[in-house]
Symmetry: C2
Subunit: 256 residues, 2 copies
């Protein structure tokens, strides 16, 4: 039961990295062997685990530009069952460098083929755009989990994201599924949040995960300590919501 | 006193669009003639003013791909002194299409040459990445205003943004200035906000605008009504902060 899940949304700041880091960690705590793969040149998923890949370190950039194999860039973390493939700013070069290559959308898919069965889950943290890095993720993934901030601009972007998924399903990756939508940064005092939630429930009733991630300050504090919130403060509302989401994800894919 | 100001930060969701839309509107209210130019394929600055450019409408995409002139895509809005150049998802194609063209970073600079003196300010809303669209903005701009969310990941990205600005100043646009940093989404109850604010004050004391933009729900409600918050709810804390920021910006550039 190896599943590659892309955490995708081209809208910025909706909780993609926070979801990728905390979901991956919570899945690892449920005895799933997990690889968190940072596909964003910002390298936030890496620093969210306290890892800063230097200029001379091998990262996913080297794999995409065929200068390294996937097994060279998979590192264990100090968290049981959780492994990381880091990224740093060098990855920003890949968008331009890959444009002219053959089958430029499938570099990641090919790279993951050899190692995917070593893990129960491979979680891909994507950048806030639908450029070549995100398209590589959509081509390599079995499913995508869409973090959706309960705000107007974020809702606006959803329709466009779903069109892109459609295009990818029609050509690059016919088996790509939408695993679900996770409502993030939910502030129950803000009426926009309730409006967005009811809109999404109306249009995509079967796609929404039950676990709603609340706006919770411990989630934004954790990265400055290089720890996922589910470890930094497991009793916080944010951490508990990600643990619950991980349980839903495991159940959804036939796990224990 | 025509000034082209890029609203730039590759970190997602830090308030670029909210700053571009409300600053542009507040400048227009202070008798400045302003063009708000949407350079993000998400088209949020356009929809923030209630404008939805359709497939058949001319947008900044057509100007960058040399199928239209700048004067064809400048529309008046129902707000005095405020004009808009809209964007829509077609603009996403420009990143790939421009890569192989001559002097690909300077398309926007060339396009703005003819019209820049018709305005006191041209405000560029940029996407959350440092791809070709943002590099075009950095090449065309006289100055950049960096919205900085008071969060850890956003602070991490600042160093990389400043390196990019350095590179652009060294080659594509030697006259590019950093007009300032505007602290956004500031929540005085959140200790991270205070930590980030003191970090930034320590490292960039001369660059920070005095007006700090608070987290204010009216700012996130306004886009769903297609109005800038400074018009939707001028008495709100968020709107007042943008009016104060606009006063600082006018003063900074020798205006009344
Ligand atoms: N539920 C939450 N409660 C409080 N803060 C949160 C929550 N989720 C994310 N954050 C904070 O909000 C900011 C944006 O989240 P994050 O960086 O995970 O989003 P992103 O979609 O990965 O952004 P980007 O588009 O730049 O990749 C971060 O500073 C993060 O710490
Ligand atoms: N000061 C504020 N108070 C409350 N909400 C805000 C504030 N500034 C922005 N927002 C909301 O936060 C979200 C992110 O802001 P915005 O879209 O302006 O950021 P951005 O940097 O333009 O994002 P992107 O990186 O996707 O372009 C939006 O939903 C917006 O309505
Ligand atoms: Mg991220
Ligand atoms: Mg924006």
């Amino acid at each position: 039961m190896s599943r590659i899940v892309g955490i995708v949304n081209q809208k910025g700041g909706v909780g993609k990295t926070t979801t990728a880091v905390n979901l991956a960690t919570a899945l690892a705590a449920q005895k799933q062997k997990v690889l968190l793969l940072d596909l964003d040149p910002q390298g936030n998923a890496s620093s969210g685990l306290g890892v800063y890949a230097g200029e001379s370190d091998k990262t996913i950039y080297h794999v995409l530009s065929r200068r390294a194999k996937m097994k060279d860039v998979i590192e264990p973390t100090d968290i049981d069952n959780l492994y990381l493939t880091p990224a740093n700013i060098q990855l920003a070069g890949a968008e331009v460098e890959l444009v002219g290559t053959m089958s430029r959308e499938a570099h990641l898919k090919r790279a993951l083929k050899d190692i995917r069965n070593d893990f129960d889950f491979v979680i891909l943290d994507c950048p806030p755009s639908i450029g070549l890095l995100t398209v590589n993720a959509l081509t390599a993934a079995d499913g995508i989990l869409i973090p959706l901030q309960c705000e107007y601009y974020a809702l606006e972007g959803l329709a466009h994201l779903l069109e892109t998924v459609d295009l990818v399903q029609g050509s690059l990756n016919p088996d790509l599924k939408i695993d679900g939508l996770a409502l993030t940064l939910f502030d129950s005092r803000n009426k926009i949040c309730h409006q967005v939630m009811s809109e999404v429930k109306k249009h995509f009733p079967k796609l929404i995960y039950k676990s709603v991630i609340p706006r919770n300050v411990r989630l934004s504090e954790a990265p400055s300590h290089g720890r996922p919130a589910v470890i930094y403060d497991p009793s916080s509302k944010g951490a508990k919501a990600y643990v619950a989401l991980a349980k839903e994800v495991v159940k959804q894919h036939g796990g224990a």
